[in-house]
């Protein structure tokens, strides 16, 4: 390959100018002509039958155009289990579930009328913990679960309220435990947290009164998946639906699936063709969109005296909330690698995704990896302690290396884990003596990506020499528009300023599976790269007679095609197109990319020879000081070493690592969406839900490791999600190192640490 000109360089973001001037239009900013204003009414009961909804007063309120309840929107949707009504019908399953909605001429009117809707409930028993919800005798939150339409991989219903049961079976754990010199059994918990993207959620919807076509303007992170889910729910062909994606003010997984979207769509069918906007305010965003799965993890390991792992058994209870959303796949992809990136001959994992009467759990950056890592990586340190080994030596003895057969049956390659481990720990002076009162710890992870999935792209070059990229990857802030522009610029050898990303509209843009799972650089990067290469081939073909040279003798650079041996014999790309097709001409090429499809996941063993197109590896290390008087943890510094395959943009990689780390620190130290024993979220505001501020962060040391992935564009893997995955465990290990004992539950608030220290003191006395 010729030398890279723009890939691998710290190019500034292509989308940033509009963001620093306020010109960028986000979903929350969008105003449509003749638009109505929608407002939802939310359930105030965690689990109840709806006896009656009185909408009379709202209907007669001046300025009201539509008042609807679940009966007016008789549709049900869900990604892998069709269990969620557009608006509650018959019963409610959590506080915050939309039960009715209004559309009005302005926001104030909508709000006033919505407040006049009265709902009468008859309460049912509710469950706020996944472990309780699946205990024998628990009453079902979804009575009709058996009759719901489901994806073929769904294995639910084995226990009450279980919507997915994932099983991994490798070797024979009982035999493994017999062979072990040391057995350790522990329990860890991770609470509910929220994405808290800075832009709250909103959706605009319109039904064309003539064609019946539905258009949604929504900052959804997977427009094509959403379109498909809507089409299935409404019984419409895909072409009757269009999604237009305005810019998205952060997502982290929360902007996938259908939440505010269903309210807007339900209203749009009752506004005689007028578009309707539904904005969730911050409080509504907290209670009625998505949260991250709370998780209770049981882990048991058997290990030899020399540190060789022999057996590991885990049971994970994933709190799914009131509807399945992505719980089944979080359960599968979070439980599968939960035993950690280690060679273990005997492994048994059971993951249960469980319905509860809490806000709906969905995708969250990391997709189940942080929960498993919180347990597994601290458990590894506890094993090391009992074996009298340095925790790093224990990891080095067992971690995945190239060529290993993983416990889920896949031969691994391009494993940069060891390098991340060495570099992250060196960065916090692991080998140097530890000053009094200072604790150090680290944690390792591997993360799969959603597989198999497809990305398609198109690239066209116009007679001005400008390149337009059509890609369905959503700019959530992660920087995909810059990365994909770099890829197109690299292959067409044009300055990046000549590349433009086409706005995202499902009527125009080719299919993409989703902007999730850290899959875009790899999948869409490949699709854009292949498209650009084809466009370049066409340009060479066209330019060849113009330059009186064979195609093979041509080369491209700086927006020009020229003779390799006579660089002065050159034409700009625009000139080539203009001469051939006129000033309005274009050259266009399309390509799809899908990773080779292997054997399906075996539902009995959890095995797959191609569980993931690639794996992301990371190690993060923390140095902390704990104030034993107040319980406050002071983070002194944190390193984060991530194997990205190839850093297409090192500046953007560092930005992703720092951002992930900050989010991980929040989840480690103070974030928890508190749901009380009545099912009510107690802290649905930024005053009470503590996000990290500029004052809360230590020195952060991002480290990029490049262990090339042969199938990835230029060797790239992915990066977005792992940034927060090992963070809580790394901090937990450092805290245990500092105070001499372990805390098993997140977050590590001063209060929790204080009481743990007190309790330990009493036990010692």
């Amino acid at each position: 390959m010729s030398e890279l000109t723009v890939v691998g360089k710290p190019v500034t973001r292509v989308d940033v100018d509009a963001k620093v001037t306020g010109e960028a239009i986000y979903g929350y900013d969008l105003v449509l002509p003749n638009m109505l204003y929608g407002k939802a009414v939310f359930s105030t009961r965690p689990h109840a039958k709806i006896k009656r909804i009185n909408t009379e007063k709202a209907r007669s309120y001046p300025g009201i155009v539509a008042v609807i309840t679940g009966e007016d929107a008789p549709w049900t949707h869900g990604e892998s289990i069709k269990d969620k009504p557009f608006l509650a019908r018959g019963k409610v399953r959590y506080i915050g579930e939309p039960v009715a909605a209004v559309a009005a001429v302005d926001e104030d009117t909508a709000q006033a009328a919505a407040a006049l809707i009265e709902v009468e409930y008859a309460d049912l028993p509710s469950y706020f913990s996944p472990v309780e919800a699946c205990a024998p005798g628990a009453i079902p939150i979804h009575e009709d679960f058996a009759s719901y339409r489901k994806a073929e991989f769904i294995v639910g219903g084995s226990m009450p309220n279980v919507c997915e049961h994932f099983k991994l079976r490798t070797g024979d754990v009982e035999r493994g435990f017999k062979d072990a010199d040391l057995i350790l059994e522990e329990r860890y918990t991770v609470p509910t947290i929220q994405h808290a993207a800075m832009e709250p959620h909103s959706a605009h919807a319109q039904v064309d009164p003539v064609t019946g076509r539905l258009t949604l303007w929504v900052a959804n992170d997977a427009p094509f998946r959403a379109l498909h889910e809507i089409a299935e729910a409404l019984g419409l062909p895909n072409e009757k639906i269009r999604l237009i994606n305005p810019l998205q003010g952060g997502g982290f997984g929360s902007k996938g699936g259908l939440k505010v979207e269903t309210v807007a769509m339900a209203l749009a069918y009752h506004t005689q063709g007028r578009p309707v906007r539904v904005k969730f305010n911050r409080q509504e965003t907290f209670i009625s969109t998505l949260v991250r799965h709370e998780c209770t993890v049981y882990i048991k390991s058997g290990v030899k005296k020399d540190g060789t792992l022999v057996a590991r058994e885990m049971v994970l209870y994933w709190g799914g909330g009131a509807y399945a959303e992505k719980s089944p796949t979080v359960c599968i992809r979070g439980s599968l690698p939960a035993p950690g990136p280690y060679r273990i001959p005997h492994v048994k994992v059971d993951g249960y995704a469980v319905y509860t009467n809490k806000p709906v759990s969905g995708a969250f950056r990391g997709y189940g990896i942080p929960q498993g890592a919180w347990a597994c990586e601290q458990h590894m340190d506890e094993l090391a302690l009992r074996l009298g080994m340095d925790p790093r030596d224990l990891r080095l003895k067992n971690i995945f290396v190239d060529g290993d057969l993983s416990y889920w049956g896949e031969q691994l390659h391009s494993v940069g884990l060891k390098e991340t481990l060495v570099k992250a720990t060196e960065a916090i002076d692991w080998d140097k003596p530890r000053p009094e009162g200072i604790g150090r710890g680290f944690a390792c992870i591997s993360k799969p990506t959603r597989t198999p999935t497809t990305s398609s792209a198109a690239v066209y070059v116009d007679a001005k020499g400008e390149v337009t990229v059509l890609a369905g990857t959503v700019e959530i802030g992660q920087g995909c528009s810059t990365i994909l522009s770099q890829v197109a610029a690299e292959e067409l050898k044009v300055p990046i300023q000549q590349v433009r990303m086409h706005p995202l509209d499902t009527d125009v843009i080719p299919f993409d599976a989703s902007t999730t799972s850290s899959r875009s650089t790899y999948h869409m990067g490949n699709a854009v790269r292949l498209s650009a290469i084809q466009a370049r081939e066409q340009l060479a073909e066209i330019a060849s007679p113009m330059l009186e040279a064979r195609k093979e003798d041509l080369d491209f650079k700086n927006g020009r095609v020229f003779l390799k041996d006579h660089p002065q014999m050159a034409l700009s790309l625009g000139e080539v197109i203009k001469r051939k097709f006129g000033p309005e001409g274009v050259v266009r090429a399309d390509a799809s990319y899908c990773y080779e499809i292997g054997k399906d996941l075996d539902l009995e063993t959890g095995h797959s020879d191609h569980a993931s197109a690639f794996y992301m590896y990371a190690t993060q290390a923390a140095e902390v000081k704990v104030d034993t008087e107040t319980g406050k943890i002071k983070l002194l510094r944190m390193s984060a070493a991530h194997d990205v395959g190839k850093a297409i943009n090192p500046l953007n990689c560092a930005a992703q690592i720092e951002g992930g780390l900050a989010m991980g620190i929040g989840s480690a130290l103070h974030e928890e969406l508190v749901v009380d024993d009545q099912g009510k979220v107690r802290n649905p505001s930024f005053l009470d839900y503590h996000l990290v501020t500029s004052l809360d962060l230590p020195q952060m040391i991002p480290i990029i490791v490049e262990c090339s992935e042969p199938e990835g564009p230029y060797g790239a893997k992915g990066l977005g999600e792992p940034g927060l995955a090992p963070t809580p465990a790394a901090i937990g290990n450092a805290v245990a190192n500092a105070i001499g004992f372990r805390i098993y539950d997140l977050p590590l608030t001063p209060e929790r640490v204080y009481w743990a220290i007190k309790k330990k003191g009493k036990e010692a006395a």
């Binding site: 973001r13 306020g22 951002g659 930024f686």
Partner: protein, 159 residues
Amino acid sequence: MKKQINITLNGRRMRLEVPAHRLLLDLLRDEIALTGTKEGCGTGDCGACTVLLNGKPVNSCLILSGELHGADIVTIEGLKIGPEFHPVQKAFIQDGGAQCGYCTPGMLMMSKALLDENLNPTEEDIRFALSGNLCRCTGYAKIIQAVQDAAAELRARNV
């Protein structure tokens, strides 16, 4: 109840008739169609809606329009100096200070307010000044770097 107010917005004088209870944030976004000022919480907790009111940074979601008679307001749309980016905008571009960009207008206005008062801020000064502006994407490191770089640029211009 409607109220007549005269304000200066981004250097332009305007006479407006507004409901007195209308929040400055909504006045800017819904009535004047300047959507650069962002709504993140509506309760004064996130700083996304920061604007300069008589030179001081405020959460525009906490200001009633009825109080604004005679006020001088600068929003993100007024930050550019003619066709030129303000040094703080330039630094955010160069250093990767924006990701999703939703907190960026508020961050920039708060940074400008800091630099208007202090051209030699320490890292601590910057962290403190921006502590009411939440960002969920960046981890703040590149934002703080950008404010430091902007301060250096402004100092260089002043000499």
